[in-house]
């Protein structure tokens, strides 16, 4: 009985967090296409960079995941490539510029990718 209850609570919590992550998928796609993200990232397939699914799994259940990814996209931070060399990650651009809501929406979409 105890076990069942925990399951129920977990399920409710999961559906809540899923709701919290319900991004505007169309807008997210548009922003990713506009920025050429898909040249280097598959949704579920690794390319030069990890698939969005992989990123979602990496961050699942972590606090601050959203903020961290927003920062990743805005800062052009140094990343490590497969061969060990380094380069700056692409900085995302929005129309109009610096629209935090659009970037956040894309990040929420990325974090919500399911296998």
């Amino acid at each position: 009985m105890k076990h069942r209850q925990t399951l129920l609570i977990a399920a409710v919590a999961a559906s809540f967090s899923a709701a919290a992550l319900a991004a505007d998928v169309e807008a997210a796609k548009g922003l990713a296409e506009q920025n050429n993200c898909l040249q280097c990232h598959g949704i579920k397939k690794d390319k030069d960079g990890p698939s969005f699914l992989k990123t979602a799994e990496k961050y699942r259940g972590k606090a601050n995941s959203e903020d961290e990814l927003v920062k990743h996209l805005n800062s052009g931070k140094e990343i490590k490539l497969a061969d060990g060399s380094k380069e700056k990650h692409k900085v995302i651009k929005t129309i109009p510029p610096n629209d935090a809501a659009q970037v956040k929406n894309l990040v929420q979409y990325i974090l919500s990718v399911q296998p």
């Binding site: 998928v25 796609k29 548009g30 296409e33 506009q34 050429n36 898909l38 040249q39 280097c40 598959g42 949704i43 579920k44 397939k45 030069d48 490539l81 060399s85 380069e87 700056k88 692409k90 651009k93 129309i95 109009p96 510029p97």
Partner: protein, 205 residues
């Protein structure tokens, strides 16, 4: 009989035009014709150039509120080095034959405005995917010549460019891929309904 001579020469301006000139030498006439030609050609060219300016292109509202607004936020409008690409740099071929063809086609687009097929922002938005597809095809057909008037694979520095894009560019050069294959939406928002071929795994999205 005595009249026929003067009749053959005729009177009035038409006759004067037809009569071999006694007053002006052939050289003078040729010079005048040449100068006239230059003036005509110059005026024609000026017209062609006038319609190539940023102001002309955004003169109509549909452009000003949409593609121009988006372009103003782009790197081709304002950047570190102050080199600006204006509408015609990307949309009007530099050489004569292609330029003329494009202008005639553009007249068709103005027709679209006059007859109302793109006369409102909504109608324009509805046509954008079609207009964009036309531009992609036109650019692709000439290997993105407009982009390459300013950019080239050979001028890309392996040190200054990030290495993943650099590798992609060198690969693209080998494979004969064209700028527009990978750089759509470089100056404007991608139209609604556009599908990125890079999301090949269509079920992905």
């Amino acid at each position: 009989m005595s009249n026929s001579g003067s009749n053959r020469g005729g009177t009035g301006w038409w006759a004067a035009l037809r009569r071999p000139s006694a007053k002006y030498s052939l050289i003078a006439l040729l010079t005048a014709g040449f100068a006239g030609g230059i003036i005509f050609w110059g005026a024609f060219n000026t017209g062609m150039e006038a319609t190539n300016t940023l102001e002309f292109c955004v003169g109509c509202h549909e452009m000003r509120d949409t593609v121009f607004e988006e372009y103003k936020y782009s790197i081709h409008y304002s950047n570190r080095t102050g080199v600006r690409a204006v509408c015609s740099d990307c949309h009007v071929p530099k050489d004569w034959t292609h330029k003329l063809i494009r202008k005639v086609k553009a007249s068709g687009e103005i027709w679209g405005k006059l007859t109302g097929s793109i006369a409102t922002k909504e109608k324009f938005e509805a046509k954008r995917l079609q207009l964009a597809t036309n531009e992609w095809e036109r650019m692709k057909a000439r290997d993105s010549i407009e982009c390459r008037n300013c950019h080239s694979f050979d001028a890309m520095s392996p040190e200054k460019q990030q290495q993943t894009p650099y590798k992609k560019h060198m690969q693209a050069k080998l494979e004969g891929a064209s700028c527009i294959d990978c750089h759509k939406g470089i100056a404007h928002k991608l139209p609604k309904g556009y599908k990125d071929p890079n999301a090949k795994d269509a079920e992905e999205w």
